[in-house]
Every structure is written in structure tokens, then in C-alpha cells.
Amino acid sequence: MLIIKCPYCGDREETEFSYGGENKKRPADPYSLSDKEWAEYLFFKKNTVGWHNELWNHSHGCRRWFSIERHTVTNEIKQSTPSQLSMEENI
């Protein structure tokens, strides 16, 4: 059981959250991409070993999306960032 820090509610148990996968930057203009580039965005994940920036939703709590840095080997969690901010950082 992971203890995940929701940036709005604080430390909560993993069961309150749902996983949103890798925190990927959405292309600003999908239509300017080739099919290959668009497919890269849709279907391909880095499958990182180590620190992983990923999205979670506090679905059984405040319902906010946010991102965390989680180590995929040790499950250590470094920080959590509200979704808007994490997306801005990505850009």
C-alpha cells in the first residue's frame, strides 16, 4: 500500500486514488503531426526504470488530478504537483 500525497488533501492511502499513467505532454497541434508521431503519443510509453513522472486522480477524495515523481523500483514518492502546474512545467 502506497501512501500518496494528494496536493490538496495530504497523505492518503493508495486505494483512494486511481492511476493515470505516464505524465505525457500532449502535442499542441495534433494535426501538424505525422501519423507516426501521433501514434507515438497515443500508444508508446517510456516504461521507465527509476524516477517516473506520472498522473494520479484522487478519485475517492477531492477528484483532483495531480502528478507525482515515483521511483518504479523502490516505489519511493518524491513530490506531488497539482495537475495544472505539472502540465505547465511540461511545456
Binding site: 502506497l2 501512501i3 500532449r26 501519423d35 477528484r63 483532483r64 488530478w65 523502490t74 516505489n75 502540465m87
Partner: protein, 953 residues
């Protein structure tokens, strides 16, 4: 009362005032309060407890703790408290306890299957892999039933467990596991040196000024521990005794089982999150590997000492001690002091530091080659090791004894350290694996860290006493794995311990190899001529000891297993005989059978009622989301494939939602209630996902848009009323309203006030008939349902369930998201181009340009009718062009929905097939269970293709 022959007159922590009566194999025996089953049996002179797993050899009590690999019993057989495969060393006796040997028939002393011993040379390493391979057909008929009959230990009684279990969750700043020497000292030292409110020890930023929460856990009952010191600690910190931490997971998350044994609660599972964990789990002594080392009466040295000090029980009269280290000497002295005749100490080492310091004869540089006895040890054969340290002198000495105490070293209990991700390395001086690095906030102290309270440095490292090639030199007593098995496995290429484990099953018994793993690794390393560190250990996994399924389930049984969601109208459905269907956690009426009516007869009646008169259905489980804010319209344009921003107030529209890959994931109707205010419905199963999905886009990509989403699924009931007579029913319920096509047009909604209740009425149709949906505040749901039902009585209004709904919509070719779609279906695949906007962008649109989604031969929606109208295809049936083609036959597609339609008096089906309606009129075949069913491809709209009926006046 029968005298306990092996009980000392004094000593131990048992309560001699309180005699306990119990049975073992139906024989009445007596022990004292505080006895374990093992100590009580030993007090009565009983060593032989069970038979081994494969070869049915005699197995006795070999330890005093969780490492027990010999004395396996079944408790309370054929009762609701039955527990198979319990270690006699862990069971506390109580009045009326009934224990039984496992794996023995007709009795543990005369066991018929022990004839296996004669065949034991055939039960070699990899036996299962090699033997039962051929012929294949024999597996099901012969091998499997035979193995099941012979194998296994206790029997699982199929009786409901009536014990009470519960679960507790807690957080602690510090958890100390183990209240032995190291754990106790740590706890006491911690309290002496730290302020009880100093949180900065664990978290530098902490501003918390509460008292630190500290927990000390030990698997032993308080009685066996240092009671005074623990009781004193208990005034300042939390203490849990008779509690085993069995799992160590990520983020310092621990699971423990507390044996409460009160009249109310049997066991309690603890889920603990700790900031810091201190592991003081001690070490386990290892047995020697020599011929017949599994005989009852051969015990781990320190456990012989435990039986004396804790229980006042002598494990024998005439004893021999066999050791390779110093720790067993104190045991020998204690045995002697307790009145056991210690005839000799056999020490493998060249010299013993105790020579000349005791009158017990010490045989240095000597080994026990073998033990003799049938159901109990009678004697041992001792010989001296030659100076080459490889072979022994031919001169042998036989020493008769009824107890052999062995110690071939100590294995730190590193299970929790390892479960937590910590690494191990082999310490050559101490001949054991010790913790090195940790991955989590924990530290190992004391014996589990290889810091023993005695000098281990002079230990001799001899992993097995080789006396020819003996099959009966056991490494794993529970799994019947011998030193020979390990050597064979090594020879056959099992070069790592992980392979060895699976091939020989060493360490896979209910003790999880607590006494056998290190010996097995040592022998494997010898056989491979590799350093032990390179052979490695297997990864330790939870649970550390066996945990009852009942304890893990806790209170989550029966009705509490999973939450059940019911609509406010549920009781009415129950009263009217509904058969329910589970949709996620929802209970939905499936159909409403009358007495003696079959399911199909019910469905026929319900369908015809809707098509010819009027029917009603509880649609309250639909997901409902209230959407407000100035950017709501723009937002819906993003989420749905069609345009919603241009919708007029009071209008309703059907919409499809796609993921970014262009695949449909949900659908539903959305009404525009007011400017910047929408009321969305989703599928029953998709409600939560749709909300998460919409929140995702609002929060991540468009945080500056002003849109507020509120789930109101539970706040509203939805009642669908449908059929040619619906307007008359509606008029009766709402006498003030006009339901003419002019004043209440199709695909509009109105909020109507009825006796102070605001009812949102949507004129939409999922049946193809004239239809309305009444969305009622939940509190009034049942009341309005009842009113509609009464108003409909003159027209024989018929309540119908989900199955009839499915048939009616299939007759119209309406899809169900999740049935016609499976995450690989685009709106274009369903010929729903009309709902895909060309004017605006939306989620998924970019993907329609991909080569794969725009190719011509995609699977598309069609109708399917069987040539024989009576045959109803099974859903999921594959369709092929050539039923006699060579295998593998090309699949054209599959049936997604299939029903018998009473309206059309024939079966109908929907399917997704290559090229879709290009195949209209063609014949395909459904090969099903040996027969081939010819079908024809048709339009998916079977009934009222022009859609006139829903617009009727």
C-alpha cells in the same frame, strides 16, 4: 490425571495450577495452561506427530517455534474451527483442543503409505516433471487424482469457519519487530535517550507535538517473553504480543496477525504504516544433514533448551549433542542441569573451547554419520574425521540415546529485511546470510543482523555429512528433499537456487524453508563448486508464516464482501418478483417473471407490451452529471464527437465520446437545461470513468475553462416509460401538461413541477416507441414510479428489465457502448458518421485520419439473421465465409448482440464484420459446437426502419 512423565517438578512459565485436557489422535492427554501443543506432547513423551509429505517418513517435533518443519497437525477436524497444517509448536493448548496427525492413515504409528519409503528411490528430484509426462491422457485420469490423494498434508474442511476476525489500521512513528534481547534493549534505550515528543528523529520538518507512537511486536505470547520489562515498556509505548509481522511491503507498510484468542475475536489483522522499522527478529538454528537426520527425537539444540526453560519439559532421558559451534554447549549444560543424561558432545571442529571445562565427554573433530531408529531415534554412529577433513576413520562408535540435540549454525531471520527490498550477502566467518543494504527506512539489529550473543566465529562450515550417497539425509523435512536430490538437480543443470527450489521444491513447504534454505544453498554451492554468494538466496516473499484466509477476509464476508448499490425503487422490484442482474455493483431488474413463466416467455410478454401498449423501466443506474459554467458548451464540444454548444435551451441530444485514439468509450444523452447548464447521462458502467475523463481534460489541458462537474447519479431516479399509450399515461400523471408533438417535441426536455417535486422529463426513446424519461429527485423516485404504474394500469402497463431493454433497442439497431464497442470500434465503424462533426475539433478526431482507422476493410456494424428464424446465435459467435475452408479459417467478424424478438417472431443479431454492409444480402456461417449455422447479413435496423413510431402523435 495421567502423570506427565517428562515434566520437571518445577520450572518454566506455565501455570501448574491450571491443568488442561486435550486430545491427540483421539487420545486424552493433559498439559498445563501456557503449554503449546508441542510442549504438552513432549511432556507426555510423544515425539512422533506426523508423516512426511512424499515418503511418509516419521516426523517428530524438531523445534519450538515458527521454523517447525516436522510436527504438522490438523486442529479441530470436521468442525467450523478446523485448521489444517498447523505447527504443533505454535498452537497453544486449551480445554477441548482436538489435534490430529496429518498425512497418516490409518494411524501415525502404522502408516500404510509409508510403503512409499520402499519406492523412495524413485521419488527423485524433478520427479513430477519427469514421471507424469506420458501418455498425456493419463494425466487427468490417473496421475492427477493419484497425486491429489497421496500428496498434501491436512485436509481443508468444507465447513464455514465460525471464528471472528477483524482488521485494524494504524500509523506508527517507530515499529520494533521482535521483543527478544536486541528488540527490548533498543526500545528501552530509545526511551532513555529521546524525548517522547521529538518528531524530528523521523521527520526533520515535523511540527507535530503529539507523543511519538511507538509499537513493539513479538510473535510469542507475553508469557514466554521478558514479562516485567515488557509490561514496564507497555506503560509508555504500544505492545502487541502473540503477533506475527508476516508481510513487509512498499512505503514501510507492514501486515501482522495478532492471535487475540478472546471469546469474541480469534485473530486480528493489522495494517501498519511506519516511519521507521527496527527489525530484531532473531535467528533460527540449523539442523545437520546426515543419514536419518529426520528421525523423531532429533531436535534443534536451542529448542531443547526452550522446552526446559519455558515449559519445564525434558525432551529425552539420554542425549547426545551434535554441533559445529559454541552455542550448543550452554544447551548441553542446561540439559544436564535439568536432569537429562548428556552422554556426549560431538563437535566437528578440531578443538573445542570447552574441553576440560565440563565432565560431559567431548568428541572433537568428529561427526555423527547416521542415526538409527524406526519411529524414534535409538542410537547414533559417531566417527572421527581424518586430517584431510574429507573422509572419516573406519572405527565407529555407536552411542545409544533417545534425544539428539543438533546445531549446525544459525540463520538470521532476514525475511522481512528481504521482503522490504533489502540485499543480503554471505558472511563466511559466521556461515550465514546477513543484511547489507536496505531499500526502505529500516534497520536490522541483533541476531537477525548476524550479531549473535555468543561467539560464532569458530563455526565449522560443513554443509552435509557425506556417508556414501544417502537418500535419507534430509535438507527439507517438510518437502522431503534430501542432499542427494540437490546434488542430482545440480548435475541436471539447476545452477541457481531459484531453479533448484522449483525443481526439488526445497523451501516450498508451509515453513517456507526456514531451517532448510541455507543448508540447501550450501550443498548446491558445494556441488557446483561455486562460492555461496554466487548461488544466492531465493527472494523471500510474504507471508512469513501461514495466515488464515479467514483472518485476511476479516469482516468482508457475505453481504459485506462487496458494496451493493440499489436504486430507490429497488424494494418495489423485489415486491414484484424481479430477477436481478449485477451491473458493476448495481442490482438491476433483469426481468419480471410471473408465476410459471420461463425467462423467454417473460421477455416476449414484456417486449410485446412495450410495442403494443406501454411499459416502464427503472433507469436510475444511468450515470448523471450536472455540468455548469460559461465554458460548458465549448467543453462538451471537446468531449462529444458532435456539436453541443449550438444546442437550444430545452433540447436534448445523443452523443458519443471517444478516447484520443478515436475509439468509442461511452455514449448517452445530454440536455441543455439553461444557458451554460447541461444535464448529462452516461452508461451505468461508465459513469465514474466519464467523470474522471472529463475532470482530466478540465484539470490538465484546460484549467482556465470555467466548467463545474458534479456527479448526481445517486441524487436522481430515472423512469423510462415507453409504448404507443405513453402519452395517455403521462397526461394522467401530469394533467396540467400537454404532450402533443407540437408542445413537447421529440428530443426536448422540460422541468415539470408536480406536487412540489421538480421532475425533469426528457422526450427521448431507446426503444423506438413513443417514450419519455422522468428524472426524479431520488427521495421521490419510488413515489413517482408508483404514480406512473397506477396511471398505466388501464393500459396494462408492464414493468420490464434490462433484458427487454436490450432486445427492444437491438430491434432498432441502437448500440450499447461496451457491447457493440470494445475499445477498438470508431463511430465510423458503426456507420454513425452523422454524429461526427466536421465543423469542430473533438477528442479522438485526429485519430480518424490515421491509416488504420480510415481503411476500408475495417469491421463494421451489420444486422444478422439466421436462416432458421428459431435459432438464436450465442453472443460472441464467430462468422466465416467458408465453413469448410482449411483451418485456420478466416474470421469475418463476430456477433455482439443476439436475441429472440417476439415482435418480429424471429431471432435477430448485431455483428461487427469485415467490410460491414458491403456484405448485405450475403450468406455467412457461424460454426458452433460441431454444427454450422447459415446466416444472412442485413441492415442492423430490424424494426420500423424509418423511425416513425417514436414520432407518433
Amino acid at each position: 490425571m495421567i502423570k506427565q512423565k517428562f515434566r520437571q517438578t518445577a520450572g518454566g512459565v506455565i501455570n501448574r495450577e491450571k491443568s488442561i485436557s486435550f486430545t491427540f489422535n483421539n487420545k486424552r492427554l493433559y498439559g498445563y495452561d501456557g503449554d503449546t501443543l508441542a510442549s504438552a506432547l513432549l511432556a507426555n513423551g510423544i515425539h512422533l506427530v506426523s508423516r512426511s509429505f512424499k515418503t511418509h517418513r516419521a516426523r517428530g517435533i524438531m523445534s519450538a517455534g515458527t521454523e517447525e518443519a516436522g510436527a504438522i497437525v490438523q486442529i479441530s477436524k470436521n468442525t467450523p474451527k478446523s485448521q489444517p497444517n498447523m505447527r504443533a509448536t505454535e498452537v497453544l493448548i486449551y480445554d477441548g483442543l482436538a489435534a490430529q496427525s496429518v498425512n497418516a492413515w490409518p494411524s501415525v504409528k502404522f502408516d500404510i503409505a509409508s510403503i512409499n519409503k520402499l519406492f523412495s528411490k524413485y521419488l527423485f528430484a524433478g520427479f513430477y516433471y519427469k514421471t507424469f509426462m506420458w501418455p498425456k491422457s493419463f494425466w487427468k485420469l490417473l496421475y492427477e487424482p493419484m497425486i491429489r490423494q497421496m500428496g498434501g498434508l491436512g485436509k481443508c474442511d468444507i465447513i464455514n469457519d465460525d471464528r471472528e476476525y477483524e482488521r485494524n489500521n494504524d500509523f506508527f512513528d517507530l515499529v520494533i519487530i521482535g521483543a527478544g534481547k536486541a528488540g527490548l534493549e533498543y526500545a528501552e534505550q530509545f526511551l532513555r535517550t529521546h524525548k517522547t515528543k521529538d518528531h524530528s528523529i523521523f521527520d526533520k520538518q515535523s511540527t507535530n507535538d503529539t507523543t511519538l507512537k511507538i509499537l513493539l511486536v513479538d510473535e510469542n505470547p507475553l508469557l514466554y517473553l521478558n514479562k516485567e520489562r515488557i509490561q514496564k515498556l507497555g506503560k509508555e509505548i504500544n505492545v502487541l504480543t502473540h503477533t506475527t509481522v508476516f508481510g513487509y511491503y512498499d512505503n514501510n507498510y507492514l501486515c501482522a496477525v495478532e492471535h487475540v484468542n478472546s471469546s469474541k475475536i480469534d485473530q486480528r489483522i493489522w495494517h501498519i504504516t511506519a516511519k521507521q522499522v527496527v527489525l530484531a527478529t532473531g535467528a533460527i538454528e540449523r539442523p545437520f544433514v546426515f543419514k536419518n537426520n529426520d528421525l523423531p527425537g532429533i531436535m534443534l539444540a536451542n529448542s531443547v533448551q526452550t522446552y526446559i526453560s519455558r515449559f519445564g519439559v525434558r525432551c529425552g532421558k539420554d542425549a547426545v549433542v551434535f554441533t559445529n559451534n559454541d552455542s550448543a554447549y550452554q544447551v548441553a549444560f542446561d540439559m544436564k542441569a535439568a536432569g537429562i543424561n548428556v552422554k556426549a558432545i560431538i563437535d566437528i571442529r578440531k578443538t573445542s573451547p570447552f574441553e576440560g571445562r565440563t565432565d560431559i565427554p567431548i568428541f572433537t573433530q568428529s561427526v555423527i554419520l547416521e542415526a538409527q531408529g524406526k519411529n524414534h531415534i535409538k542410537s547414533v554412529t559417531v566417527s572421527q574425521i581424518k586430517s584431510d577433513e574429507q573422509s572419516v576413520y573406519r572405527v565407529k562408535q555407536i552411542i545409544s540415546c533417545d534425544l539428539l540435540a543438533v546445531s549446525s549454525g544459525w540463520t538470521p531471520s532476514v525475511h522481512l529485511h528481504s521482503q522490504a527490498g533489502g540485499k543480503l550477502s554471505f558472511d563466511d566467518d559466521k556461515a550465514c546470510f546477513v543484511p547489507t543494504t536496505t531499500e526502505q527506512n529500516n534497520v536490522s539489529i541483533g541476531a537477525c543482523n548476524g550479531d549473535f550473543s555468543f561467539d560464532i566465529s569458530s563455526i565449522s562450515k560443513k554443509w552435509e555429512i557425506e556417508n556414501g550417497i544417502g537418500k535419507s539425509s534430509y535438507v527439507d523435512f517438510l518437502e522431503d528433499v534430501s542432499a542427494l536430490d540437490i546434488r542430482i538437480a545440480a548435475k541436471e543443470g539447476m545452477s541457481s537456487v531459484e531453479l533448484l527450489k522449483r525443481y526439488t521444491t526445497v523451501g516450498m513447504g508451509v515453513d517456507q524453508g526456514k531451517t532448510s534454505n541455507v543448508n540447501a544453498i550450501g550443498i548446491l554451492a558445494n556441488a557446483l563448486d561455486k562460492p555461496i554468494d554466487l548461488v544466492g538466496t531465493t527472494r523471500f516473499r510474504a507471508p512469513y508464516t501461514c495466515v488464515n484466509f479467514g483472518a485476511l477476509a476479516g469482516k468482508e464476508l457475505g453481504d459485506l464482501l462487496d458494496p451493493v448499490r440499489t436504486t430507490p425503487i429497488h424494494d418495489w422490484h423485489v415486491d414484484h418478483g424481479a430477477v436481478f442482474e449485477d451491473v458493476g455493483q448495481w442490482k438491476r431488474p433483469w426481468y419480471f417473471p410471473r408465476t410459471h413463466e420461463s425467462m423467454q416467455e417473460t421477455l416476449n410478454r414484456e417486449c410485446l407490451a412495450v410495442r403494443t401498449s406501454v411499459g416502464m423501466m427503472d433507469a436510475s443506474t444511468l450515470g448523471k452529471i450536472d455540468i455548469q459554467g460559461k465554458d460548458s458548451g465549448k467543453f462538451l464540444d471537446l468531449i462529444y464527437t458532435n456539436m453541443f454548444s449550438s444546442l437550444k435551451v430545452g433540447s436534448v441530444k445523443y452523443g458519443l465520446m471517444c478516447h484520443e485514439d478515436g475509439m468509442i468509450f461511452d455514449d448517452g444523452v445530454t440536455a441543455k437545461i439553461a444557458e451554460n447548464h447541461y444535464y448529462m447521462t452516461t452508461t451505468t458502467g461508465g459513469a465514474a470513468n466519464v467523470l474522471d475523463w472529463m475532470e482530466y481534460w478540465l484539470q490538465t489541458e484546460y484549467p482556465d475553462w470555467e466548467v463545474y462537474l458534479t456527479s448526481i447519479t445517486e441524487q436522481y431516479c430515472a423512469i423510462a416509460v415507453s409504448g404507443p399509450h405513453v402519452k395517455k399515461v403521462m397526461k394522467h400523471v401530469f394533467p396540467e401538461e400537454s404532450f402533443s408533438n407540437e408542445s413537447f417535441t421529440f428530443m426536448t426536455s422540460k422541468d415539470i413541477l408536480l406536487n412540489g417535486i421538480n421532475i425533469r422529463v426528457l422526450r427521448i426513446s431507446f426503444t423506438g416507441e413513443l417514450a419519455f424519461e422522468l428524472h426524479v429527485p431520488s427521495y421521490h423516485g419510488k413515489e413517482i414510479w408508483e404514480q406512473v404504474y397506477q396511471a398505466g394500469k388501464p393500459y396494462a402497463i408492464t414493468p420490464y428489465g434490462t433484458e427487454t431493454m436490450h432486445i427492444l433497442r437491438a430491434e432498432k439497431g441502437f448500440i450499447i457502448a461496451g457491447q457493440e464497442t470494445d475499445g477498438s470500434v470508431t463511430p465510423l465503424d458503426l456507420d454513425m458518421n452523422w454524429i461526427v462533426s466536421k465543423k469542430k475539433d473533438f477528442l479522438g478526431k485526429r485519430s480518424f485520419l490515421r491509416k488504420d482507422t480510415s481503411r476500408k476493410n475495417r469491421k463494421k456494424l451489420v444486422g444478422i439473421i439466421t436462416k432458421d428464424p428459431k435459432v438464436v446465435l450465442p453472443e460472441g459467435a464467430q462468422l466465416v465465409k467458408d465453413p469448410h475452408g482449411s483451418i485456420p479459417v478466416n474470421m469475418e467478424g463476430h456477433v455482439t448482440s443476439s436475441y429472440y424478438s417476439a415482435t418480429l417472431k424471429r431471432s435477430i443479431a448485431l455483428a461487427l464484420i469485415n467490410g460491414g454492409l458491403e456484405n448485405k444480402g450475403k450468406t455467412l456461417y457461424a460454426p458452433i459446437e460441431g454444427s454450422i449455422i447459415p446466416v444472412e447479413v442485413t441492415s442492423p435496423v430490424f424494426y420500423d426502419p424509418k423511425g416513425d413510431r417514436q414520432h407518433a402523435e
